[in-house]
Subunit: 110 residues, 2 copies
């Protein structure tokens, strides 16, 4: 099996944030662990593997949080070997909710 289609099989749905109900986006943003993830992506400006985040929760809980962020259209995820890289959907979020990311991550606040 080629690497491309192998990866395809493991790649879950990535809704566009423009299609996600506001309610779901806010529910994703209200958890401080999830905002911590977004903040690391936002501040560093780089893609990051799940394991490289400074998280205070177990691995299974972390997986849950990454799923919630992806399903809200806030991040995309792709496999690189056994790691999973996470990318902040900055452009799309800004287009769908102008000012939201900056408002939520703008203060240095937790």
């Amino acid at each position: 099996m080629r690497a491309a289609s192998r990866e395809q099989g493991r790649t879950p749905a990535h809704p566009e944030i423009g299609d996600v109900p506001l309610q779901q986006v806010l529910e994703a943003l209200v958890d401080p662990v999830r905002r911590g993830i977004l903040r690391e992506l936002y501040d560093s400006g780089e893609d990051r593997a799940c394991g490289t985040f400074d998280l205070t929760v177990s691995k299974s809980t972390a997986t849950h949080h990454f799923n919630v962020l992806r399903e809200a259209g806030l991040i995309t995820q792709r496999y690189v070997g056994t790691s999973r890289m996470n990318t902040l959907c900055r452009k799309e979020v800004d287009a769908a909710f102008p000012g939201l990311l900056d408002a939520v991550l703008g203060r240095g606040e937790a």
Copy 2:
């Protein structure tokens, strides 16, 4: 007793949104009933008594929601006779979190 000090006794604390943790503001915004309240204030541009809102919950639940919004610094409340008038803190919210209100209430969305 003069009306002014009578009213004073019934007036609860009104934190400035700039002093409220982001977490608390987001928790206030994540409930759709509360966003409905904010939206009516935002759209009409007027102060409104609690009873004039188009709410789907009981009176006691409504009281709860107004409290949460006030404690998050999103609205102020003052008594006028037996009614309680609610005012959106537009200027203060915009100053503390530029773009947040528009991002959350901008789409016509529930």
